[in-house]
């Protein structure tokens, strides 16, 4: 059943200041270990719970790191973090993130990015800081003349009960920029993805304009962490060949691009968990159709991603021609990569790969691994919620069952499962602590955002081949992981790896 026809979907309520948490909205969880088929069964029965861990490791909150690292790259906007100085220090890379991309590759010559912290102090906590927030808004307006001012809240502003909406309502008439409050205080939810929804809620509520005209050739592409500049270029290349344009949001987009989301022909995913809220909101408010699966990762996924777009833009025929042309170029190269990987062990066995993925990546990545001739009998995922339940079921049906560890950057658990399963290749999202120290191959899943080299490409047809070749490289020299394992200390005592359960410290008494 297409997702936009599901009865269980609650409408998005833009009269509210913010979205519901993922825990409530989609029965999200931060912890699970078992077969994917069991997870599906448990999720359907409503048996998936959030649990505390007795040993919790720092892993990210609603604000950090996604919003602090990415929202500060929206052009001609200003971001105000209403909090102590440390909540926004992760944003310090803002001016450099996209700056090193050569202008020859389409990076604009001039752009300004700005963020401000209200720098809350002891006195502010005691007496309130709404004046400080208002002053910051005026300062941002005067200094940067932005089109939008995003206000990102923090635990401190939340706990002391700052009236953000009140302050905004008071100053908006005096400020040209559209003020967009984003309620992303870390304490509100255990699930990082609540932050995505909170951000999109603000965008939908305050920024997206009623469509002046529908742009039939415009495809909204809501991007996510791990897509580089080259991924954009590949997607633009493919869409461009059939006369379509990609509207990449929100990272490094302009405010105008966000305002025009309502004019697009379709909203396409790069990451369904990231895109779902905005896609649904645009459909509900402005009738922009959307799909959530798959992402353009691997040959087959890219085919069906393009076909979906073709369907919504009336370009079915052009897309079929495009797919045929592209296959002629890329499928032989993909087959060569597949052959090399299939024969790598030389004994008929497939290489085993373990990836640390977001739940969005999970859906498209495992079929892509299969296409590459890799076996993935287990996967780590940051989180899980019902938003991907149907698609996960489809995927398990098509690709077979696997073990799934739901785990938001819990380094001890990830180290445990990596050590005990000992896959041929482990793909680290870079936040797994010392899990990279091992005898067998280790490489990255995510590239730097500003990486403009085709070697780092992962999306579309060119990316399917490039990342396959990248994985082959990773098998050819393992000295770094090996020497680090041998020469540096481990974070945990030996018994941790000797006992069988990565969820040893799950605190079942605290299920929510």
């Amino acid at each position: 059943m297409p997702i936009d026809e599901k009865e269980s979907d609650q409408p998005i309520d833009l009269s509210k200041n913010t979205c519901p948490n993922r825990e409530q909205r989609a029965n999200g969880t931060n912890v699970y270990y078992g077969k994917a088929s069991e997870l599906i069964k448990d999720a359907k029965a409503g048996n998936v719970k959030c649990h505390d861990r007795k040993l919790q490791q720092t892993s990210g909150c609603v604000l950090n790191f996604y919003l602090t690292v990415r929202v500060a790259t929206i052009r001609d906007a200003a971001i105000i973090y209403h909090g102590p100085v440390g909540c926004s220090s992760a944003s310090l890379g803002y001016r450099e993130l996209f700056r090193t991309i050569p202008t020859e590759l389409g990076r604009p010559e001039n752009f300004e990015l700005n963020w401000i912290t209200t720098n809350l102090q002891q006195d502010d906590v005691v007496y309130g800081a709404s004046q400080k927030l208002k002053d910051a808004i005026f300062k941002a307006e005067k200094r940067y003349n932005p089109k939008a001012i995003f206000i990102l809240t923090t635990c401190t502003s939340g706990v002391i009960g700052e009236d953000i909406e009140g302050a905004v309502a008071e100053v908006q008439p005096e400020v040209k920029a559209t003020i967009v409050p984003v309620h992303c205080e870390g304490v509100r939810s255990k699930l990082v993805q609540t932050g995505y929804d909170a951000f999109w809620h603000g965008v939908l509520k305050y920024l997206v304009k009623k469509p002046e005209k529908k742009q039939k050739d415009l495809v909204n592409v809501a991007s996510m962490l791990s897509y580089t500049w080259q991924d954009r270029l590949e997607i633009q290349r493919l869409l461009g060949k059939v006369g379509l344009r990609a509207n990449f949001v929100p990272e490094f987009s302009t405010v105008e691009q966000l305002e025009q989301l309502s004019e697009a022909a379709v909203t396409a995913p790069l990451c369904p968990t990231y895109t779902e809220y905005v896609s649904k909101g645009l459909k509900q408010e402005y009738g922009v159709p959307y799909f959530l699966y798959p992402s353009p990762m691997g040959i087959k996924n890219t085919d069906s991603w393009l076909r979906q777009i073709g369907k919504f833009t009336g370009k079915e025929k052009e897309i079929e021609i495009l797919i045929e042309e592209e296959h002629k170029v890329w499928v032989p190269r993909m087959n060569a990569v597949r052959d090399e990987l299939l024969n790598f062990k030389g004994n008929g066995e497939k290489l085993e790969v373990l990836g640390a993925l977001g739940q969005g990546r999970l859906l498209s990545q495992l079929p892509y691994f299969d296409e590459l001739g890799l076996s993935s009998t287990a996967a780590l995922t940051q989180d899980f919620d019902n938003l991907i339940l149907d698609d996960l079921e489809t995927m398990v049906g098509e690709n077979g069952d696997f073990d799934i560890l739901v785990n938001t950057f819990q380094a001890a658990e990830q180290g445990h499962i990596t050590r005990t399963r000992d896959p041929d290749i482990t793909l680290t999202c870079p936040f797994q602590g010392g899990a990279y120290k091992r005898e067998k191959s280790v490489t990255r899943l995510h590239a730097l955002r500003g990486d403009a080299d085709p070697w780092s490409l992962q999306s579309g047809y060119a990316g399917a081949v490039a990342y396959g070749e990248f994985l082959i490289q990773s098998l050819k020299n393992k000295s770094f992981g090996k020497i680090m394992k041998e020469k540096t200390s481990d974070s945990y005592k030996d018994w941790w790896y000797e006992q069988p359960d990565p969820l040893y410290y799950l605190d079942k008494g605290t299920s929510k």
Partner: protein, 458 residues
């Protein structure tokens, strides 16, 4: 010195006072919060395991905003995503976070490799009034330090002082004095981006004149090194303002006098002066000290000589600008002006030092300069203002943080092509493991680093 006599010094206007007191909002201040400073300090002590009693993202935020920003460093075996945290959310705001912390201490002490723990409490426990001390008392057999470092109580530099104050109050006991043992203060892990290399270089330098040196950070058996602090004969504070509170408190409790230097010494001139002062204060043999100085100076200047043609032909005696923390601004400016003949155009101090230390910082930046030109000096924690202050200046190279890396190209002609060298926090475009500019060798490294940006065929 009367600072008003120096016509170029733009000291302390009203808005800057307000910035320091935290009364105004600022763009991208070049430091993080007190929790970040204490967390970085704890990670600097090998064997100490930080436990963050804080929100779920406080640690991860600092991985990005303090450690990656501090020269693209990961946090080490117990840093970053390996760091245990109580991960406080709404239910703890309502019911308190003490139970969660208790479980965290239990589990961490079972599974984490380490000699001791540091519970670092952030904003939430402070706002909800958790009794952290009472929780820690339940673990009498586990060495645990209690550091209250709410982010709204100060910045990274403050976190460093809070870390040492907690150590001094809770852990240290009287030790037999060791003659010739000195402690080093004033270098803040991850915030002073060359911290690891600087500390080790200072240690070697002082060992060369016969001293024993406790740098605490980067030493294996770091927790033991912490406990040895009271045994020192002197504290050497290598900053106009960082580490002053820590050294004073240690001094008062264990009778250790402090000698304050404006920063780590960079290049032969500062280094020889440093060694002579230390030698005199600690009554070392003058012959030994002078012998070291003579030998090192001779070989260093012999090497600097190799750079002479290139320096004089490519960019001699031009203006340069600095945007950096006080420590770094002082040692680089002095080396550039007093040994290489450059002219200081504008010095912007990004570390927001408290009012009472500013006169000594200005003094260290303007006293005894070989140039007949004094720099304009601005205390500027706001990155927007710092950028604007660099417009329409004469400088031909810029020592700054990586936030200023693209300023020259953003300003357009004639600034395009003005080299930028990252020497201070944040440093996303420069990876720093052990590199530093301390001592005789350090001066050579600095010459190599900045001249390589403009050296070319004649």
């Amino acid at each position: 010195m009367n600072i008003k006599e120096n016509g170029n010094v733009k000291n302390i206007n009203q808005s800057q006072n307000a910035d320091f007191a935290g009364k105004t909002s600022i763009e991208a201040p070049k430091y993080s919060c007190a929790l970040a400073g204490a967390y970085g300090s704890a990670l600097g002590v090998y064997g100490l395991v930080p436990l963050l009693h804080a929100g779920l993202g406080c640690g991860l935020g600092q991985l990005f905003g303090q450690f990656y920003a501090g020269g693209q460093n990961a946090g080490g075996p117990v840093g970053g995503t390996s760091t245990p945290t109580s991960g406080l959310v709404e239910e703890h705001v309502i019911f308190g976070g003490e139970e969660k912390l208790k479980k965290l201490i239990e589990s961490s002490s079972e599974v984490m490799e380490g000699d001791a723990f540091a519970v670092i409490s952030g904003c939430i426990p402070s706002l909800i009034g958790d009794d952290v001390e009472a929780v820690i008392r339940e673990f009498p057999d586990t060495p645990i330090i209690n550091i209250n470092a709410a982010g709204f109580n100060g910045n990274s530099y403050e976190g460093y002082e809070l870390f040492f104050e907690a150590i001094i109050d809770q852990i240290l006991t009287v030790q037999p004095k060791k003659k010739g043992l000195v402690n080093i203060f004033g270098i803040v892990p991850f915030q002073h981006i060359f911290w690891k290399g600087e500390l080790n270089a200072v240690k070697k330098l002082l060992e060369s004149i016969g001293l024993e040196v406790n740098i605490v950070f980067t030493e294996f058996e770091g927790f033991e090194k912490l406990k040895e602090l009271p045994a020192a004969e002197y504290n050497l504070v290598l900053s106009t303002w960082n580490g002053h509170r820590a050294a004073k408190k240690l001094g008062e409790k264990f009778d250790i006098p402090s000698i304050v230097f404006p920063s780590v010494p960079v290049g032969p001139k500062q280094t020889s002066k440093f060694l002579r002062i230390v030698g005199k204060k600690l009554s070392l043999s003058k012959d030994v000290v002078e012998e070291v100085i003579k030998k090192e100076e001779r070989s260093t200047y012999r090497l600097i000589e190799y750079s002479g043609d290139m320096l004089l032909v490519s960019r001699p005696h031009c203006y340069f600008a600095v945007v950096a923390d006080s420590n770094t601004a002082i040692n680089i400016t002095n080396f550039m002006v007093n040994e290489l003949g450059y002219l200081p155009d504008i010095i912007q101090l990004s570390d927001n030092p408290p009012e009472e230390y500013r006169e000594s910082i200005i003094k260290a930046l303007t006293e005894d300069l070989e140039s007949t030109f004094s720099p304009e000096i601005i205390f500027e924690p706001d990155s927007y203002e710092a950028r604007e202050n660099l417009r329409n200046r004469s400088f031909l190279f810029l020592f700054a943080s990586s936030l200023e890396a693209h300023v020259a190209s953003e300003f357009g002609a004639p600034n395009v092509g003005v080299p930028h060298i990252t020497v201070s926090f944040p440093s996303y475009n420069r990876v720093i493991l052990n590199e530093n500019y301390v001592g005789y060798d350090g001066g050579l490294t600095l010459i190599e680093d900045f001249t390589s940006h403009f050296a070319g065929p004649l």
